[in-house]
Symmetry: C2
């Protein structure tokens, strides 16, 4: 074990503060990583503030990690010292259930081990995330960052990116499809980039006229003001897919109506504890699909990084020093970030 | 036009009673049919009693019609006089929208013309259903009844049959799949037969121990008592498909949990006006699909009749005289029919 500096929330604190903890002694299949950048996901706030009632304090958030390999165990054969690598939302899974065998570790029957606020499957120690100097992760859960990508802007691909890329690929979005994207945040803006790169025609739904220019800047071919009944009616039965990144409760029925026969409404934002209510006629009457998707498996996480390099896609980011993290959380709660904060981990050394 | 005897509900009556009305003069593409049998669908009750608030009285219910061709128009080339034919839930559609062009007339963008309580697209006259002596239908909406089928037992295939067959085929149910069927009524028992014929292993979910023997008799490989938390927990992530025929509000979440990763919960019973509430985590967490399906298109309605002939499948029916229809409705409301009433239309002549 070795001492590591990080930023954590504790139950006594309202916010994140410097925190020293131990990383495990690397095992034979482990990759030791010096963290360079870590994206700030809305989930980090939920855990820091215990919104879901399952935070084990102290918690070191962060699951959009980019770093450099400093050591590898004897059994590691995919990575070498000095390589630029990434770690996303998971650091382990059972590895033997049908989902794991298909490389869909995020749907592991036993539940995957999250990068933070989880429990290591071997030593039962708590997992700590990427707001820290270093991390030690089993090689199966490490991905290679292509040279072409800007390392900082690549960080959010590990969560915001894979979360939107995976369902678009799985459900077969491609040329000739019309895709609607709901929500204009970190996930939504990545969804627009991926859907366009896959050949689809993309519409952003937004609640206000004031955001139309921004939506166009994000690359949308069209914009629909979702609060305008006329625009919504005109969109009836016009979309093949809806990628729904809205992370709070919203009525799905008006959006379902904009799907064609056999169209799919894909949720990627958990909207618990409030339950959406869905009119069954909106599904039955047009054989529509309501579904959801959770991040992506490890092979697909590597795929999305390679896809981003090939298509010159990166996340729009705002760089952040770690000592400004609490302020960043406050801004994120107001939606005041375009589109993802990324912590420059050099700032931790001077914090 | 010609006078026809039928049974109708009027706004003044609590129940169905003899009713004389006119059938349209056959057009060039029309098939005139003498009705031999008509199945009694739960939807008939909803319309007779205006449960959905959109009944135009008087209404002649019935959309599971088997009869013999008595005349054909000059443009009819699929049917000849004397043939045994069927008519299901639709008698017309726009015929030019993307759904109609794919033979998915049930999802017609303009809305299909229902066999009763609808309005003819040409003369704007009301459509009357199968509780009557005769019907006149455009040939596109008429299907051929294979010789091998018992005509009376074939009637419910036109609604209960196609409604369960279509989603099983569309979503790709086959060998190696585990299918759960919810609801043990007219639709449910047909769903079990089709799923088995398609090669799947079939489980019936029922609320009470008392129905286990009946479920086995229906052909289920397994039975799960849905009110037993232990049995439901043991079924976690075990099904590829759920065919949900329950026509009243029920909590979908416990059922969703029994679906594997990528599993599909298919609604075929409209459960309005009450809305189901679905936990988004039950979809997102395992990439599950909630969807629905409405009857089937005309090519598939012919296909299901041929499939039934090939696999020796028919509906379990109880024959009924038309003057007992009101009593039959009361029994259906109590679930007291195995599994479908079929009216012998000869009884109309003596009624």
């Amino acid at each position: 074990m070795s001492d590591v500096k990080g930023y954590a929330a504790t139950s006594e604190l309202s916010g994140l503060a410097p925190f020293s903890f131990q990383r495990r002694t690397p095992r034979a299949d482990d990759v030791s990583i010096d963290i360079l950048y870590c994206g700030v996901c809305h989930t980090d706030i939920h855990f820091a503030e215990n919104d879901w009632g399952r935070t084990n304090y102290p918690v070191v958030p962060g699951h959009e990690i980019i770093g450099r390999v400093t050591a590898v165990g004897n059994d590691v054969n995919q990575f070498t010292v000095g390589e630029l690598v990434g770690v996303g939302c998971m650091v382990d899974s059972c590895r033997s259930c049908p989902s794991c065998e298909q490389g869909l570790e995020q749907y592991c029957r036993e539940g995957m081990t999250p990068t933070y606020n989880g429990e290591d499957r071997i030593d039962r120690l708590r997992t700590y995330g990427g707001y820290s100097e270093r991390i030690v992760v089993s090689e199966r859960f490490v991905v290679r960052v292509p040279d072409k990508l800007d390392p900082a802007a690549a960080a959010p691909i590990l969560c915001a990116g894979i979360t939107t890329y995976s369902p678009l690929k799985h459900f077969g979005v491609g040329k000739g499809h019309k895709v609607g994207v709901l929500g204009m945040g970190g996930l939504g803006h990545m969804g627009v980039k991926f859907a366009r790169a896959l050949g689809a025609e993309v519409t952003i739904f937004t609640r206000s006229e004031a955001k139309v220019a921004e939506a166009k800047k994000q690359g949308a071919d069209h914009v629909i003001i979702s609060t305008d009944p006329e625009q919504m009616a005109a969109a009836t039965e016009s979309f093949d897919f809806l990628l729904d990144t809205i992370p709070v409760h919203h009525d799905l029925n008006p959006y379902l109506s904009t799907l064609k026969v056999n169209g799919s409404h894909i949720l990627v934002g958990m909207i618990e504890p409030i339950e959406p209510t869905v009119h069954s006629r909106n599904l039955i009457g047009k054989r529509r699909i309501l579904t959801g998707s959770l991040i992506g498996g490890m092979p697909e996480t590597q795929e999305v990084l390679d896809f981003c390099a090939e298509h010159d896609i990166s996340c729009d980011i705002e760089m952040l020093d770690i000592h400004n993290i609490n302020e960043a959380y406050e801004r994120m709660k107001k939606g005041d970030v375009k589109y993802r904060f990324v912590i420059d981990m050099k700032s931790l050394k001077s914090a």
